[in-house]
């Protein structure tokens, strides 16, 4: 099957992977029996929870710490207490999968030009009013069409389609932690790498374990004030900042995206504070992307972010000393390119998700030999 056919199949909801002869029939049956219920939900015991008296549980995966009685689900909608035992309902239940350029995530300093086998399940542990994937992220797993792709099948599909990366993305991979973790182990066996596209709303202990099995994490920093997190995200800022620091202190490559929504999180002073915080806490070398907002989901009354606003915020972040500040969702803008912070020359020229020219020599600027941090090969 050619990539074009694959993408066509994905859009049409094809179940090609289930019928692929790459999955041996016996293996397929065994995995299905282990992990699925009659209703098509998985029933794999969740990690990071405490059992409490009277069949209650307390989830420790994310900072919500949902405490649930029997038959109840967490805020994410995909983890359920069944008689005092906590289960993930989305292990292997893939609601969306595609082959995307890694630049789409966006990760600009991580294997530029590589394709990522990208997948998601239903569910999310926040509720952003501007979510662009709400039709899977804000759903419970039984409300979306899913395909059963166990970790081995994901790794095999990614390898077959020459995707050196598996990306956990679209919804919120924290909520399908167990599936993501196990899949990462499988993909590593095939020499592939793992990228997590997340809101960073996860507790330190599970994040510490995740960091051991993935190579890149992109965090959506939604704003730099708690009010925005309360009113538009229904999450908390501090745990996200803690996650950023924790990842930056590890060997995992980190990039940060900030979706700029007109009038809601575009104040210059706040961006300046954020840039200062990033430089102080994790240094100037992790890329920061300012993304252009488009009206969607529950925020349709605001216009797309003016490009001038994005440019102004980028200038502020550069002024504050961050080395790699990008603009996103503005194809053809010079802010998509990577510039050497030493000589100012373009080292990677992009148009949208396409690499037009890569002037890196190894991990160095071809012009002045400045090291450009990232994972380049």
């Amino acid at each position: 099957m050619r990539r074009r056919d694959f993408l066509k199949g994905t859009a049409a909801g094809s179940g090609w992977l289930l019928t692929s002869n790459s999955l041996r029939t016996g293996q397929q049956r065994l995995l299905a029996t282990e992990a699925r219920t009659a209703a098509g939900l998985s029933r794999v015991e969740a990690r990071y929870y405490d059992r409490l008296p009277d069949r209650e549980i307390k989830c420790r995966l994310c900072p919500r710490f949902c405490q649930l009685g029997d038959k109840e689900r967490g805020f994410c909608g995909v983890r359920e207490n069944q008689n005092g035992k906590y289960y993930t309902l989305v292990y292997g239940q893939v609601a969306s999968y595609n082959i995307d350029p890694i630049e789409k995530k966006p990760l600009f300093h991580f294997l530029p030009g590589a394709m990522a086998f990208s997948l998601a399940t239903a569910g999310c542990n926040v509720a952003c009013k501007f979510c662009q994937n709400w039709e899977i992220s804000q759903m419970r797993p039984e409300q979306v069409q899913s395909r059963y792709l166990p970790p081995e099948a994901v790794a095999e599909a990614a390898a077959r389609y020459n995707c050196p990366i598996v990306a956990y993305t679209y919804s919120e991979p924290v909520i399908f932690y167990e599936f993501m973790y196990d899949t990462s182990l499988e993909t590593r066996k095939k020499g592939l790498r793992n990228a997590v596209i997340t809101n960073g709303f996860i507790n330190p202990e599970p994040l510490a374990e995740l960091i051991k099995v993935v190579e890149a994490i992109k965090i959506d920093l939604k704003a730099f004030n708690q009010d925005f997190y309360t009113n538009y995200v229904r999450g908390q800022l501090k745990p996200v900042l803690d996650s950023i620091k924790q990842i930056a202190s590890s060997k995992v490559w980190l990039e940060i995206v900030y979706l700029v929504i007109p009038t809601l999180n575009d104040k210059a002073e706040e961006i300046r504070q954020m840039a200062r915080w990033l430089k102080t806490e994790i240094g100037p070398d992790y890329p920061l992307h300012f993304s252009r907002f488009q009206p969607m989901y529950l925020i349709k009354n605001l216009p797309p972010t003016p490009i001038s606003t994005l440019e102004r915020l980028r200038d502020i972040a550069l002024e504050e000393g961050l080395h790699y500040v990008y603009l996103g969702n503005v194809p053809g803008h010079p802010g998509e390119n990577t510039y050497c912070p030493n000589c100012g020359q373009v080292v990677i020229e992009r148009y949208g998700y396409t690499i037009k020219k890569n002037s890196l020599s190894g991990n160095k600027c071809r012009h002045c030999h400045q090291i450009i941090p990232g994972v380049w090969s």
Binding site: G69, D70, E72, G74, G77, M139, Q143, R234, L298
Partner: protein, 298 residues
């Protein structure tokens, strides 16, 4: 201000020897409850005034607790058949909840046959949820197409239970089963989400009657079933005011808790504050000064 009337009907014969509701007792309780609530001496006439013959009527039940702690089929089906017989169209009555699996596990026999009572989940073939979220204040949800499109009027036939987050779950919270994302609305004791949800026209304008099943009440550690904190009270609670009925249910749970020496819901920091929010939104009356409670034994 006119008081909200809430009627409590009690029957020692409500539950049969097998522990399940006795249909003939249920019917007596329904009839008496409706008569007192409407001031009519003829329950069927009261029903005909409440519902138009051409209306499709939804009976929203709660089956998340499966057979152990759900709206009893013996109760819901009795109500559905009575409505159908009185109004002349049995197949215009829909007993429903979120999923067919939960309904079956709670003891319901699914039915979508022409000419008979319909019993089905939102996940039934061809049903599902509306495609765009309905937004009201803090809430944005897709609605079950049963509530949104198939029914013209609604009865919340809800199980009264203690609830570890909301404080209590009753007739208002029963409508969490009408939306796709109730898991998003359990923060801060479900307040203001419950009131904001009920305020949406698809619920507020269709809701006609609350009947709280308080035959057995889970007064602690709910909404899950824990037999040691589950008490038989043999009561059904009726009201047109959805806030007042739940307020009376709350009082009943507090009384049971006090009798067993348990702390109040306020002391456990889970007072159902959503009732006051609902009153503030004009959805009903939450204060006992403004509620007329009539109790009767059948």
């Amino acid at each position: 201000m006119e008081k909200a009337r809430v009627v409590i009907i009690r029957s020692e014969r409500a539950l049969a020897a097998n522990g399940l509701p006795d249909p003939s007792s249920m019917l007596r309780m329904f009839r008496k409850g409706l008569e007192i609530l409407t001031g009519s001496n003829q329950a069927e006439e009261a029903l005909r005034q409440l519902f138009q013959p051409a209306e499709n009527i939804g009976i929203k039940i709660n089956t998340i607790g499966r057979r152990a702690i759900s709206t009893y089929p013996e109760m819901a089906v009795t109500l559905g058949l009575w409505l159908g017989k009185t109004l002349g169209h049995e197949d215009k009555i829909i007993i429903w909840d979120r999923t067919n699996e939960e309904l079956k596990e709670a003891g319901y026999k699914l039915s979508r046959s022409v000419g008979s009572l319909r019993i089905m989940g939102t996940d039934s073939s061809g049903i599902g949820y509306t495609s765009q979220p309905v937004i009201n204040r803090s809430v944005a949800s897709l609605f079950s197409r049963i509530q949104a499109e198939l029914v013209d009027s609604a009865i919340s036939l809800a199980l009264l239970k203690d609830h570890g987050i909301a404080g209590i779950t009753g007739g208002m919270k029963n409508y969490f089963g009408a939306i796709h994302n109730p898991n998003k609305y359990h923060d801060s004791n479900c307040d203001p989400y419950l009131a904001d949800l009920f305020e949406i026209d698809l619920i507020r304008k269709k809701h006609r009657l609350t009947i709280l099943d308080a035959l057995r009440v889970q007064y602690h550690r709910g909404p899950s079933y824990h037999p040691q904190w589950n008490e038989k009270t043999n009561q059904l609670i009726f009201g047109f005011d959805p806030v007042a009925v739940d307020a009376v249910g709350w009082k009943l749970i507090e009384n049971l808790r006090a009798k067993k020496g348990l702390p109040t819901l306020s002391e456990e920091r889970r007072e159902p504050t959503y009732l006051q929010t609902a009153e503030n939104s004009g959805l009903g009356l939450a204060h006992f000064d403004n509620i007329e409670i009539i109790e009767e034994e059948v």
